[in-house]
Symmetry: C3
Subunit: 470 residues, 3 copies
């Protein structure tokens, strides 16, 4: 029953006294504007404001949370609307939707995806039925109808969702065409970009050669020369900042950092461009580039985000046939203590730098990240990321970081999503779980209700705005 | 008071509303047949159906969970009925029982062993007293009496326990003498074997040389030749499958896998048999053999189980004096993401393979195993293993795997025990903890009661039967 | 509101039935004497019994838990009373206090520091107001007044706190001047030392060269000679034991141990003293010295404590400007299974050794430490340490160790503090959290109330006294 999943008290603790306090805290933050400082929606949607395509294209084919679970049960990705290397895929969105609906109830039971989709169906699309094989067609039709209506266009939804600011993420060589259009439009919605230079700072990125070339063209710098390469990056950062960006984002396999001499940097860059760099040297290059990015952030004030620890494209068969971001990125153990030391020793004491760190390795919460964030002025702890952006994940995060780092070395919630309709659901889950965590502290007399209310406000609204300079 | 420990609501949450729902879920699965797809009981017990020896031989001397805890308090293993290298041990089972009884209440407080033994004493043996120094003799006598009765013979207990199928584990070179007898008997109980080839696939196994020789004799293959060695394994797998096995089991120190060229395999095999293999090459050999076993499973349909991450015989003094399996196997950190990648990249996308993975390193639940099982079609997540087969261990398992892998990439419970009388207790704990976990989700409005009831049925009965092809 | 934080039911579970049981258990142990077998208060305080200086010197400047959190928000350490390398610091304690008070409510919310300071202010100093910018001055004055009174002198507080025994920690080359004075005084308070030889067993310790020289002078041994060096250590251990010590303490970066040949030891010692030892060899030396210390403990009966896994002085800027122990020690992942194996294989089965192990890497609780402590007779598991000496940290500790190691392979609580006024608060938190954990077990019918009461007594009083031979 969908009704169950959208119970007004969902995710709150059961004990009546705690539930009452959780409700009270939640009610005070429920309607606050959404600050979404990191995510993967597309600026194009808001710039062009054209209708979303169809239910399958909205909920299934682009969402690796969804199709990886179906794939884990042996369902071919092509049947889910994912295109293989020959461009083949199921052409009929209704068929995709039916397939999904048939597995939805059991397979996604107990997962955050289920919470998000139930929320989107019910709250955004007004579907009161439970999604299953029997209801699939009818729900498909209902959604399809609505997607054509003006109040379901991207901008209308943005406003309905109460989004105050939404950050997208673009490659360092992106033209920011849609952002420019948005900036020049008279629409009031604030959609900003984020500077993500991985394809020009990670020599193992599939687009590295290509994008370094583009970088040269866009900036007029000779990117074969170390100094000009850095200057090119500075120029692009400036361009992004002028277009509205307040932050950068860096997604590397590990949080390894190092400080190399300029000659060494030049040598590694040259080898990168010749394609002769070893895997070990690629790690060296990435490690040094994180430090360069931190130095530049200290200069230009862009907040630096580090998302480390994902083993990308673990399943090479899927990668070869379907490409990147197909649900086969698997977390790895990481070491932030050793890894970040060179970077933090250079710029971690700087009041001009904000470095927000994310992990997929929960064992680092209490062991590494909370102690680091509870000491270094520059470092803040990002919210639970990806697999851990879930009710239990959020509880573990607060339980394992708060006692060492407090609340005020964290930065509120990120939805980090490409699924636009899930944004209100994701923020709602976060608000509920923070309310729940705080309510427990209140009822165990570890905090007054007033303090909890203030903290909830800060976590939901003030801290993300401040941390991301929004 | 034993009474306390067998309270009908034991292990359920305290909050009255959740407890009520937990009870309701539990009542719906409490009496389901026991599916025991992995364990270490002996086929001989059921083939010969002779009385169990005495209380000490039943509860203490063979159970490393029990004697390791007593040993940790400085009690010599010989005093607990464990034989040293000279065959010496306490000959009087009553003395062993008294010693155990004197430590039982305090030392095992809060441990699953306590839950299991209390359950066995009360439910199976009808002992209503608490076991301590004062009651030790009387309880010893009561148990001894019963063990002679026909309704306490192995087959009678098997039936009383409601076991639908029980898997034992035998070495690849085992004759399966008792299984054959069982298959030929008119007893209806289903006791099947599991193919465990460690002693012929791990060059560092103490029986390697010996068992490779036996393997040659049993199959008529020249096990010095790589191809014939593989063929010998295929022959034995066929023999096990024909005797009733549906699964294999592999217990290696790490989950490292690799794919080697045939020439390399032949070279490593030759060195293994000459006894000149280095530790590093032994790891290479094991790593490749896991891939070979997966390939064969893909062919012959035997479900593949991988139990990795135990540092066997950590205490060399105990190993030297008492041998293997004496409570000094200690978990190690493991890396499934790198370790399993070669294997999964070769066969992880195959619909014909089922690979069930177990861990002793709980930090891998949310970081590695749930993401892997939530993506690869071939991989399923085994239940909490060994030290983690416990109430808190089960909660952590569900809390840390469900949101990423769901319930339907897991395979229900394994008791994995050599303590026959603990089987009903272990399954009961698992059913209670799953009921508890699900009841919480229901009361937090994350799932309807109907869904929880269905899930509980599936976890208890349907999923283990399906996953293990029973 | 401070009132909230000192609610009589603070830290107890909310569910009324469990809370009632937690209260009952707590009331039975609340007033037991404090056994403080490991910590960093100063013998001088009790030997000289002079008034504590001022509120800032009491609560802020010496407490790295406090100033690291303020530093994480960009507040210079000098403004908090911490002296930089030029001896510069804020000279006015009132200003320091005001700065602290302004951040106290928000920044420390949800942290154990907040619990401890609220407790000290309210229970020890009788401050009923909440500490904030407005009340800062008034509270400063109130505390200052009291510090001059005779009932606030160190010895009076020691007695008021109900401390039965308090262990300090001194370097192996300490004169134990104050302890000797204490031993010769007629004051009844038992303040004992602990033998901490890191500065003469770790070649990378900043004082190594210096202290090895002192060691030679104090013992008349030639510390360049391996045998005499060991003899010197034996002599100092004897001196410490005769002064009252019952334990040693070892704080190394890793728990690596190894057994080297004497020639190798001599070579490493010589290189250490010449200053030519590599980092790798320093680890070898430390690893062997842990084994030597364990051997000596087996001989002389001093309980051996191992605190491993802190990356000291992670922030080199802070280290260069302010020295050691300035809140920038960050936990690292450690491996006890491999690390301790050589040591445990040599002395882990000995009934004459007690080795108490502490970790900052919580992932080792269930994976490594509980299994090791639940097997080796010599090994016991120390309480949650440092960052994990907190309510949630204590819950995780019991939840993750009890099922494998039981309660009786643990050793009760350590406050491990240099903040004397926090001692009653810290023990109170521990007693509350143990009561809470036990109350849950009682209410889930996993233990009777009688058992819980007995266990609570043991954890609070009997086990620390026995484990530390007090």
């Amino acid at each position: 029953m969908t009704r169950e999943h959208l119970h007004p008290d969902r995710l709150f603790p059961v004990e009546p006294a705690v539930r009452q306090v959780a409700r009270e805290i939640y009610q005070s933050i429920q309607a606050l504007p959404i600050i979404s400082p990191h995510g993967h929606t597309e600026a194009k949607w808001f710039a062009e404001n054209r209708p979303f395509e169809n239910p399958a294209a909205l909920f299934i084919s682009p969402d690796h949370y969804v199709f990886r679970m179906l794939y884990s049960q042996g369902i071919a990705l092509e049947r889910l609307g994912v295109k293989n290397q020959y461009g083949e895929t199921e052409p009929n969105p209704r068929k995709i939707w039916q397939l999904f609906a048939g597995h939805y109830q059991q397979l996604f039971r107990g997962t955050p995806t289920r919470l998000w989709i139930d929320h989107a169906l019910h709250e955004v699309l007004g579907i009161s039925q439970s999604l299953n094989t029997d209801s699939a067609d009818q729900i498909f039709d209902k959604i399809s109808e609505q997607l054509c209506r003006s109040d379901f266009l991207p901008r209308a939804l943005f406003e309905r969702f109460g989004i105050e600011v939404l950050a997208t993420t673009e490659s360092a060589v992106d033209s920011l065409y849609h952002h420019t259009n948005l900036n020049n439009s008279d629409w009031k919605g604030r959609v900003i970009t984020t500077f993500r230079p991985d394809s020009v700072t990670n020599p193992e990125h599939p687009d590295f050669q290509n994008d370094i070339q583009k970088l040269a063209e866009l900036t007029g710098q000779d990117t074969h020369d170390w100094h000009q390469y850095l200057e090119a990056l500075r120029i692009r950062r400036r361009f992004f900042a002028e277009s509205g960006a307040t932050a950068t984002d860096h997604g590397f396999p590990t949080p390894f950092t190092t400080v190399l001499a300029k000659e060494q940097c030049q040598a590694l860059l040259s080898q990168s461009l010749e394609g002769t760099l070893s895997a070990k040297d690629a790690e060296q290059f990435r490690g040094h580039m994180l430090v360069e990015m931190a130095r530049m952030s200290e200069e230009d004030g862009l907040v630096m985000q580090l998302h480390a620890g994902s083993c990308r494209n673990h399943n090479l068969t899927v990668f070869d046939h379907f490409g990147m971001d197909k649900g086969c990125d698997i977390p790895m153990p990481v070491n932030f203590v050793e890894g970040l030391r060179p970077l933090l020793n250079e710029v971690g004491n700087s009041p001009s730098l904000t470095l927000i760190v994310f992990t997929l390795d929960e064992s680092t919460y209490s062991r590494e990240l909370a102690p680091l964030a509870g000491h270094y002025p520059a470092m803040k702890l990002g919210p639970p990321w990806w697999f851990h952006d879930s009710p239990e994940g959020m509880l573990r995060y607060r339980q394992q970081t708060t006692e060492t780092a407090g609340f005020y070395n964290t930065v509120g919630f990120n939805d980090d999503t490409r699924a636009f309709l899930s944004i209100p659901a994701r923020h709602d889950v976060s608000r509920r779980m923070d309310s729940r965590f705080l309510a427990n502290l209140v009822c165990e007399h570890r905090m007054s209700l007033d303090e909890a209310m203030e903290t909830a406000q800060d976590l939901t609204y003030r801290l993300p705005k401040e941390a991301y300079k929004l």
